[in-house]
Structure formats: C-alpha cells, structure tokens
C-alpha cells in the first residue's frame, strides 16, 4: 500500500504449501503486522556534506512474511536493515517491531532488543572463527544468560534441523560456504527472534547452496518466522512472498 510516495509490491510465492490446519493458523497469524517502518530516514555526514542513505522509507511487514529488499549497491538496502536491526540510529522516523518503537528504546536496552527480537544473517557469515559451529550458535544465547545445558541442546537441535548434525564441532574454516551460512541461520534463530534480517545471505555461495538457503528461509517463513532478505539476486527475490525495491535511499515501485 503506497505511503508517502513509497510503494511495495507483493509477489505470489510460486509454490504455496498445501493448506492444512496448522498452516491455516499461521496464515491467520500472518495477518498480524509485526514490523512497521514509518518515514525512516538516515543521513550521514561526509565532512559537512550530508549524504541521504535512506529517505522517508515506509514498509509494513506481517508475521511470517519472507520479504526481499532489492536495489543497486549503495541504494540504502543495507542501511534499512541496519536501522531495523538497531545497529544504527535513524535520523528520523519510527520502527515499530512487535509493538515496540525501536527508535525510542534507550541505547543501553538495544542489545536486549537485538538478542530477543532480531536475528542477523550476514553475507560473509560473520561467524567467530575460533568457535565451533555449536559454540557459534550458542553464543547469542550466552548473552541472554540461557543455562549452558539448555543452550547446548537448542543449538544442537537447530544445527541438526539445518542438516549440520555432523558438523557441530567444526570450526568455520572447516565448513563450506553453504554450511557456514546455515550455521549463521541457526545462530539467528537461536533466541527465537521476532524477525530475521538477512543481508545478502546468498552473495557468497553458488547457485545450489543459494537454493538450499532460500529453501530454509521458505520453510521458516511457512512456520511463521518473519524474514527480511536484502538481495541482488532475482532468483532469491522470486522465491520471496514480497519484494521491496530501493533506489537512492527511496523505496520505489517495482
């Protein structure tokens, strides 16, 4: 729905799952608005020159949506993700995630928001090289003070679910790109976040791995997990339930 000159487009997911009772419930829940970005702007200063990385962006995301954010390099997609993820402070506007306005959350409470409500997936995986796959997944739960046994069990379950049951003790350098990204997905899911923010998650992998990652995203989305994916790849966007395009810091109609 167009807002403030910013438009969004909804794509139909090509392969819709069969509607059983659980998916029906999820779809009903899917109507719930989980994320609302209102007139979000970010201006940097290069010396005294202002650079508008994002201008009055508005997006509404419903629970369980797999939303692709596309646009050329430097268009502001990663900035949008960083702002939603509270990694950066917006110059103006609001980000309402699960009823909380993140722009008004005090700085010192932001780590808690990131732990409890947001899961990050990065293009370069950003795993801690000295930790094993299991420990990498456990890490965010450590910061949530989850007891050791519980976090180990959960990390193990997540990795097994993502097909990495036999790679638990492997360090990132001993894993393929696809495996590392799946560890990174497991890490993002560890604290059961409200939304997953994936920044070019398939940018470093081959097409086969890309397809498997997208498949994981779709499965998670079907289970009610909201995911925002920044991507250049039309093949990834095609698989998402909706695509938002950004150009020069402004969300454009596709």
């Amino acid at each position: 729905m167009p807002e403030m000159g910013i438009e969004e487009e909804v794509f139909e997911t090509p392969e819709k799952p069969e509607k059983d009772e659980s998916t029906l419930n999820l779809e009903n829940e899917g109507q719930k608005i989980i994320l609302q970005v209102e007139n979000l702007s970010k201006t940097y200063f290069q010396g005294k020159i202002p650079v508008h990385a994002l201008r009055c962006a508005c997006i509404t995301v419903r629970k369980g949506e797999l939303l692709a954010i596309m646009g050329p390099s430097g268009s502001g997609k990663s900035t949008l993700l960083a702002l939603i993820g509270t990694l950066e402070k917006a110059t103006d506007g609001k980000i309402i995630l699960d009823g909380t306005d993140l722009t008004s959350v005090p700085e010192k409470l932001l780590p808690r928001v990131r732990r409890e409500k947001i899961g990050f997936i990065f293009q370069h995986y950003n795993l801690i090289p000295t930790l094993s796959a299991l420990e990498n997944v456990e890490l965010s739960m450590r910061f949530s003070r989850v007891p050791k046994k519980e976090r180990e069990e959960r990390a193990k379950a997540l990795l097994e679910e993502l097909g990495l049951g036999d790679r638990l003790s492997h360090k990132p350098s001993e894993l393929s790109g696809g495996e590392q990204q799946r560890v990174s997905i497991a890490r993002a899911l560890a604290n059961k976040p409200t939304v997953i923010l994936a920044d070019e998650p398939t940018g470093e992998v081959d097409s086969k791995t890309r397809d498997s990652i997208v498949r994981v995203f779709k499965e998670l989305s079907e289970k009610g997990q909201t995911i925002l994916v920044v991507t250049h790849d039309p093949e990834v966007a095609k698989e998402c339930s909706r695509v938002v395009r950004i150009k020069d810091g402004t969300i454009k109609d596709h």
Binding site: R115, F120, F143
Partner: protein, 371 residues
C-alpha cells in the same frame, strides 16, 4: 565467559606468551626488590622491638663523634626516672662489611649483658658474667658461619676469645653481633673509657620521651634518642630504602603493563569485526568489557604467577649463594606475595581498561564494516 576468555588468550599463543612474560618480568622485579625490602623491614622491626625500652644517650657530636665516656653513665643514672644506665661500645667486626648485614662487636658491661640484650634469649651457654674478660657471646648467624660451639675459640682483632653463650635467632641485628665485655672491647680497640652510646632504662610509669628530654638537659654534652625518635629516624631511612627498591620493581612492572596494553589494543583492533558481530547478536557493553578486561586480567594473573615463581626461585638461589657470607638479603613474606599478585592483576586490568573501553564503545555497524 571464562572459557571464551581463555580461548582468546590461547588462540594467540605467541603474543599472549610474550605479554605474560612481560608482566612476569615486572613481577619478578617486584618480588626480588620487594624481598630485599622485606628483609630490611623485618630486621628493622625486630631490632626495634628488642631495644624499644631503652633511651640512647650519645655524645653531642653524634655516635661517631667520640667524646662520650663511661663517666657520663653516673650522670645519666642521677637523672630522676632513670632506672638503669650503662655504656656500650659498638664497632664493626669486618671493616668491609658495614651496615645491618655486617657483623658488629658490641662491648657491654658483663653484668649488664642479659639486660642489654633483653628480650633476646640464649640458645646455649650463658650471658657474660662479671669477671669475664676474653669470653664472648655470639649471635646465631656468627655461630653458624664460624661453626662455633660453647667453649670454641674465636679470634677477634688478633685475640682469642672463648665462646660462653650463643644467642637465639632473632632476625635482628643481634644475629650478627659479637658481644664481649666492655673493658676488653675498649682495650682491644684502644679507645680508653669511651663508649659509643649509653643505654638509659626508664623507670616503670615514666614516659620515655619526657625522660629522654630530661637527660639531654641534665647531662651536659649529650644528646638523646628516645625509642620514639629512634623509630621515626630509622623508619625514615627504611622508607627511603623501600621507595628506591620498590619503585625500581614497580617501574619494571609498569613496563609489563604497557606490554599488556599494547597487546590488548592490537587484539581489539584485530577483532573489531568480531566485536561488531558480538554486538549484533546482542552482547551487552558489559559482556564486551568483561571479555576484553578478563583477557587482560588473566594475562596479568598468569604473568603474576610466573613472575612470583621465577622471582621466588631467584631469591632462593641468591639467598643460598649468599649463605656462606651469612648475609641474608632477601625475604619473601606472604604480604609480598599478595602485593605482587594484586599488582599483577591490577596491571592486567588497568592495562586492559582502555582497550576494553574502546571495544565496548564501538558502533556495531562500523565494527561490522571493518575488514
């Protein structure tokens, strides 16, 4: 967090080891210099405790100025409040080994030898008795060095003395004392009836400080050192010595601290992206602080332990080496160990403070962009 801290240290083995060695070197210096200071401190404290009840009366021109004779003893005794007084002649046994670790000849009136040395006890034999002339009571270090027994002959200034008493170990100057009758000492060193100083023992319930002033006013040509004044004077000298020894140790330890800071700053710079990741996945500022400070503190801890171990071994070896000369230069006390350990931890933590602050204040986004 503990396992992450240890892992971070272990992942950079060579660098961590060098940093730990830097701190260890500093703590080694603290231990060695501190042990020297502790030894002097103990000798000082014990020496004070065994002579704390007496007022020292000197010649106006000072202890080495001469001019104080035995005649003054009766003058001092006449001062109201003085219970007892006797002169002592003090001189070095070996000319080349002056000071507290050197041996000293103490000429004491034989009948006063037990009170002059009180509360030092005898390990064997007896104190000097009236009528003794070429008899000697020796301190425990002298006895061990010369392997003396009761009845042994002991040469002083080309004369042979018979050992009649051996003192208990006190940790004070009396361990290196050779006590002979005053008259014999005066003859031996050809000083007439001169004495180095007079010990004045105050009556009970008499304020030693007041009495000290009274003696100074009543007995012409003398100056006094009350137990309090002596302690202040000795403490000042001891403080100067301590400041010199301890500060040289601390200097080395501070250099070790800079070593940690350098390592931690490098580590933080290298791990900028890692801190960004940690922040992105929800690490609190205190988590980052804990990780970085913990790492620095652990290096401080390891450096401290290593420094204390190596320092203790070095002190042990040096003491063993000096054992022949009966000079005890180093003393490791529990207090010194605690100070050294706390100092190592403090150095680690303080040196890690700035790097930790930098790490915790990083913008997560900026940190993530870091190559």
């Amino acid at each position: 967090m503990f396992d992450l801290i240890i892992r971070n240290i272990m992942n950079r083995k060579v660098r961590s080891a060098l940093t730990v060695c830097g701190i260890a070197l500093g703590i080694f210096a603290v231990i060695v210099m501190g042990a020297m200071s502790e030894n002097f401190h103990q000798t000082f404290e014990r020496s004070m405790s065994v002579t704390s009840d007496k007022i020292r009366v000197f010649s106006e021109s000072g202890v080495f100025g001469g001019g104080l004779t035995e005649d003054k003893v009766s003058d001092v005794l006449r001062v109201a409040g003085v219970k007892d007084a006797y002169g002592l002649l003090m001189t070095t046994f070996d000319e080349d080994k002056m000071g507290m670790t050197g041996k000293q000849i103490l000429g004491v009136p034989p009948e006063k030898s037990s009170v002059a040395l009180y509360p030092v006890d005898l390990k064997a034999g007896r104190f000097l008795n009236p009528g003794d002339s070429y008899n000697v009571v020796v301190g425990s270090n002298i006895q061990r060095e010369y392997k003396l027994q009761i009845g042994s002959k002991f040469e002083i200034h080309d004369k042979y003395f018979t050992v009649v008493g051996i003192l208990d170990y006190t940790g004070s100057i009396f361990d290196n004392a050779v006590i002979i009758p005053l008259e014999t000492a005066q003859d031996l060193y050809d000083v007439g009836n001169s004495v180095s100083y007079i010990f004045a023992v105050p009556d009970e319930r008499i304020d030693a400080e007041m009495l000290s002033k009274r003696i100074e006013l009543s007995v012409k040509g003398t100056s006094t050192l009350s137990p309090g004044e002596l302690e202040v004077q000795a403490r000042q000298s001891f403080m100067i010595f301590s400041v010199i020894t301890i500060s040289s140790g601390l200097l080395a330890a501070i250099i070790g601290g800079l070593c940690v800071m350098n390592t931690m700053l490098m580590s933080v710079a290298e791990r900028t992206r890692e801190f960004g990741i940690l922040k992105a996945i929800g690490a609190e500022t205190r988590d980052i602080l804990l990780l970085t400070l913990g790492e620095a503190s652990f290096m401080g801890l390891f450096g401290g332990i290593l420094g204390i171990l190596v320092g203790s071994v070095a002190v042990y070896i040096m003491n063993a080496w000096l054992a022949n000369t009966r000079i005890v230069l180093f003393l490791i006390t529990p207090r010194l160990l605690v100070i050294a350990m706390l100092f190592a931890l403090l150095i680690g933590a303080l040196s890690g403070l700035y790097p930790a602050y930098r790490a915790s204040k990083m913008s997560p986004m900026e940190a993530l962009k870091h190559a």
